[in-house]
Structures are given as C-alpha cells and as structure tokens.
C-alpha cells in the first residue's frame, strides 16, 4: 500500500467512525480484534504454542473436549500467558477509559489516570511494604499499593474540596499529591533500599504484568466492568462538560454529583489496576486522543472505543515487552511508549492534514 492510499484508507475509516452507521460494526470488529490479539499474543513466545492450541486449552478448561497438549504447555497457556494477556487487556482498557473520562471532566488534554496522585500513592505504599517491611510480611505489594493509592487520592480530594473544588483546584491538588508521594517514594528508596529492592521497585514503578494470576484478573475485571457501567451511564453528562461546568449545569447535569462519582470511580479502578500491574504510563494519556480521532468526541462511542483500543494496544505492548529482548523482559511501561509514540506521531500528522481543525482552544 502506498503512503497516499494508506492515508485515504485511514480517513475513510475515520469518516465511517464518525457517522452513526459505523458504530455497531466498529464494536464487533473491535471485540474480534481484541480476541484475536489475545490469542495471538499467547501463542507468541518460546514454547511453540499455536493460536488453535490456545483455543483448545480454553475449551478444555471451560468443560469441553481435551486439548491434547502436554500439561506443561497447557500450564503455560492457562496459568501464565492467558491471565497475563487478559490482565494486559483489562489494564489497557481501564487506564485508557479513565484517561478519557478525566480529560473530559477536567477539560484538560494532558490529564491521565495518574493525575490525581493515585499512582504516586500506590508507589509509596508499595515501597513501604517492599523496602520498609510495613505489615510484617502479611501485606502483599499489591495490598500496600492499593492502600497507598486510596490514601493519596483521599488526601488529594480533601485538599481539592477545602480549596474550593473547582476544576483547576482539583488538578492542582492532584499535582501536589503526585509530587509529594513521588518524593516520599524516592526518599524511602534512597534511605533504605538495597540494590535488589531498588531494582524490584523500579521495575514495578514502570509497570509489569509478569507475575499475575487469576485473582488479579478477576478483581481488575470486576473493577473495570463497574467503571464502564458508571462512566457510560454518564456519557451525556461528560459531553455536556465540553463548554465547562456552568454550561453542563445549565444542560441539567448535577455537576458536583457527577464529578464526585466519576473522580471516585476512576480513582478506584486506577488504584486496582496499578496495584496489580504497576504504573503503566502512556496508555491513559495518549490512547483517548487516538480514539477521539477515530470515533469523534461523543462519549457514548468514545468510551467503549477508547477501552477497546487501550486493551488491544496494551496486549501488544506487553507482548513486545516480553519478547523483544527475550529472555530478558522490559518493563511494559517502557514498551508502551516505545511502541506507541511512533503511531501517535503519525496520527497527529494525519489529523493536521486530513481532518477538520484539531482545535485551537486546547490548553
């Protein structure tokens, strides 16, 4: 395909996504793409497992016919790669969804799921457990991270509330919380960690899907499902925020209630995801913009599209993280940016050339 026909195909796809007719088709194609991506990602690696083998193992585990694979290879699919791929999908979907919601709610294209201090709090909680031994071995890294995330978000919310509760104050409070807990994390690592602990913490901070099991998949899926339902029910309210909270109120939105509900749900789902996988960057900041370029700014379509795009993206980014330098593994947060930035650069250029003005009113 030549560059120009590629551009034409892309803008045709974009036009189809922006009209109503394409929506259902998009949903089906997106879900199929996600399922294929997960199956393909599982088959990639050293064990020589095919996409069909993945299918057979899933069928067997769900009560169907024997897969015919050796127990070891079956274990690789069911115990290692499938939960890992599913968690990648869930994390990608959740982070991208939260990013899209927060960007609209806070009217800031630079907002991401970590803007309210959740990931910094999680990292502080994690180093408290790993380095300082808080909890005396009874607390897992994930539990410590979750507690830290909830604590820091609570503090940010309190600060935002006491300082007036406007959009700007929420953002500034989040930044204050983020800086404070990052500093706290660095302080603990600097003062107390040995080389091994430092490496483990650093790896976790950059995101890792390496040591997940079905428990994490179940917990994070439940959080994502709840968040999707809550956010989709408020898609119209999010649209109404386009011209600011006053305009949203005049369109019948209960601004305070919607804002609090959405801040809470995005923070909780982010906390759950970060606790399981570390703070995976890029996805929540950039993929909502990519999804907007394809399906437009209406949240009824944007939120599911963003979630799907995030899921597919992170499945592939994690596959890259796991295989590019095999047998060494990259932190997935490094892979997301390495894989994602070139794609995003292309998208930015297409938008400037092919589509209607990308909006001068941004930041």
């Amino acid at each position: 395909m030549t560059a120009s026909s590629g551009a034409a195909a892309l803008s045709a796809v974009v036009r189809a996504g922006r009209t109503g007719r394409g929506a259902a088709v998009y949903g089906v194609v997106g879900l199929a793409l996600l399922a294929l991506s997960i199956a393909a990602a599982i088959s990639i690696g050293q064990a020589g497992i095919g996409v069909l083998d993945v299918w057979r193992v899933v069928v067997e585990r769900l009560g169907g016919a024997e897969s015919g694979l050796s127990p070891i290879r079956e274990g690789i699919v069911w115990e290692l790669r499938l939960p890992r791929a599913l968690l990648a999908a869930v994390c990608g979907a959740g982070l991208a969804l939260c990013g899209a919601v927060l960007q609209s709610l806070l009217r800031n294209p630079l907002a991401d799921p970590f803007v309210l201090g959740v990931s910094s709090g999680a990292s502080t909680g994690a180093v408290c457990v790993v380095v300082l031994g808080v909890g005396g071995g009874a607390l897992s890294l994930s539990a410590g991270a979750f507690a830290g995330a909830v604590l820091s978000f609570g503090l940010v919310l309190l600060l935002a509330h006491t300082s007036g509760g406007t959009t700007d104050r929420v953002l500034l409070s989040g930044i204050a919380g983020m800086q404070f807990f990052s500093a706290l994390t660095s302080l603990v690592v600097f003062l107390s960690a040995d080389a091994n602990q430092t490496k483990a913490v650093l790896f976790w901070l950059l995101g890792s899907l390496g040591s997940v099991g079905w428990t994490e998949v179940a917990l994070c899926s439940a959080a994502l499902g709840a968040a999707l339902a809550v956010c989709l029910a408020r898609a119209g309210a999010l649209d109404a925020f386009a011209f600011g909270p006053e305009a949203a109120a005049a369109l019948g939105v209960s601004v305070q209630r919607v804002r609090m509900a959405l801040l809470l749900v995005t923070a909780l789902v982010t906390a759950a995801l970060v606790s399981a996988s570390g703070a995976i960057g890029f996805v929540g900041l950039v993929l909502p913009h990519a999804a907007r370029a394809v399906v437009g700014p209406g949240h009824r379509r944007l939120l599911p599209a963003t979630a799907l795009l995030g899921a597919v993206f992170l499945v592939w980014a994690d596959t890259a993280a796991r295989t590019l330098l095999a047998p060494r593994e990259l932190p997935v947060g490094v892979a997301t940016a390495l894989v994602g930035v070139p794609g995003f650069v292309v998208l930015l250029h297409r938008r400037r050339g092919g589509l209607a003005g990308a909006g001068g009113g941004g930041v």
């Binding site: 609209s104 009217r107 800031n108 294209p109 989709l232 029910a233 408020r234 119209g236 309210a237 649209d239 109404a240 386009a242 011209f243 600011g244 006053e246 305009a247 109120a249 005049a250 369109l251 019948g252 939105v253 209960s254 907007r292 437009g296 700014p297 209406g298 009824r300 209607a356 003005g357 990308a358 909006g359 001068g360 009113g361 941004g362 930041v363």
Partner: protein, 254 residues
C-alpha cells in the same frame, strides 16, 4: 405564568449581589436586563436558570419552585446562552447543537428521531444547516454564538436566557443575533450593555443597580435621560427616533 423570580436574593462572600429582585416576563416577550457592571444581571440569569440556589426568595416555573422540579426538568424548559463559550474538544457544529438534547435523554438511551428532528430544526432556524459538519473552531465569533443559540433551541425551551450574547460581535452580527432571538417564539431574558439595542429589540426592560431593580417597564418609559444619568452616571440625549418611535440614546461627553 411561566418563569418568574419572586424577591430573590444571592450573596457572595458576605456581600449581597442580588437583593430582593422580582421579575415576571410575559410569555413570548423579550425582556432586557440592563445595568452597569456588577449590578447583578448575570447572577439573576443564573438564579433564573436554576444553576445557583437562591439565598432567599424563589424562582418558579409554572408556579413550581425550580429546586422541586429538578435540574434536568428545568433544562428541558429553560435554555442558557453565555456571553462567551469556549471548548478544547474537537466538536462539529452539529455536535454542539446536539448537546441541547442531553436534558431530554435518559442515562442509557441513544439519541432518537425526535432528537435528530430538534437538531435539524434548530440548525435551520439559525441558518447553520450548511455548516453542520464544520468544526466549531473554524467558526467566527458571530457563528459561534449562533451555534450556541441553535444548541439552546434544540433544548426546545419555553424560556431562553442570554447573558450579554452580543459582547464579542461586530454591529452587523449584534443586530442579526438579536433579530434571531426576537423572532424565536419563546420568552427571552437578555442581559445587555447596549441601551440602543435594548430599546430596539426588547418589549420590556428592567434596570438593575447594586442588586436591586430601580426601574422596569416598556423601553420608552424606562430609558430616560434622568435614569441613565442616575444609574450609569453619564449624560445623554434620549429621543424617540428609534425604529417604531422607540427611544434612541446618544451619549454626551463629560
């Protein structure tokens, strides 16, 4: 009946911004809110829209206090156009007009045929049908205000509240915008700075100073040299040379 304010008050940082204001627009008419900066025009509009609670007094719609109706029900009847709307979102004109249908939809329901019909109708009335697919950010100031009015009309309101909608527009667009508001068959309340525009387009004007109504009535009765001198502190000559014998205000230096 319709929308009315009864002795409403509002306070900000301990200061009374509105102090016992009553307003009862006749259905279908255009009412101008006049008064210097800080006299409470915008605040009164926000109370009328129900987006701010009153400190005392009550705003009613068909006799029912706004808080009892609920925000969504109010937004199905009362639409607001701000003096300046800005967004970072990459919206088309149609996207903007569609926002007006939000109060008419449930949490989960997709836009239906009635929504699309209201949007189409609003675009036609504001002569924006050809611009519907164009990006909001490529519109001129006058077109943006027209799109906001189209969004407001898509709400299918019985009352339209406008806060200095002509502020950033050149004179041609000021006249066109107010003509559009006046020929729209709803009750309109418009905060305005320009006394001549108010005289020309409003059936009724109310003049605010320090949060109180100091004069109200037909423009010809209210806009006198004495009142203008008293409220704005400027000298003027008022003649009946406006269209249809309405007052025309000429300001004098010093």
């Amino acid at each position: 009946m319709s929308l009315r304010a009864e002795r409403v008050a509002w306070r900000a940082a301990g200061r009374l911004v509105l102090d016992g204001v009553s307003l009862c627009p006749e259905p279908g008419t255009t009412v101008g809110l006049l008064g210097p900066n800080g006299s409470g025009k915008s605040t009164l509009l926000r109370l009328l829209a129900g987006v701010r609670p009153t400190a005392s007094g009550v705003v009613t719609l068909d006799g029912v206090p706004l808080p009892e109706l609920g925000r969504k029900a109010v937004a199905r009847r009362v639409a607001v156009v701000e003096q300046h709307a800005e967004t970072g979102a990459d919206l088309t004109v149609r996207d903007v007009v569609r926002l007006g249908r939000i109060p008419h939809r449930g949490a989960w329901s997709a836009p239906g045929a009635a929504d699309e019909a209201a949007v189409r109708d609003a675009l036609e009335r504001t002569r924006l049908t050809e611009r519907a697919a164009q990006s909001w950010h490529t519109l001129s100031g006058g077109e943006r205000q027209r799109a906001q009015i189209a969004r407001a009309l898509a709400q299918r309101p019985s009352e339209l509240l406008l806060d200095e909608p002509t502020n950033h527009l050149d004179i041609q667009h000021q006249l066109a915008l107010l003509a559009l508001v006046v020929r729209t068959p709803v009750t309109s309340v418009i905060a305005l700075h320009d006394l001549n525009l108010a005289a020309m387009f409003c059936d009724h004007v109310a003049v605010l100073r320090h949060g109180r109504v100091v004069a109200a009535g037909a423009p010809g009765a209210v806009l006198t040299e004495e009142l203008i001198g008293d409220v704005y502190g400027v000298r003027s000559v008022v003649t009946a040379e406006g269209p249809g014998g309405r007052p025309s205000v000429r300001f004098l230096p010093g």
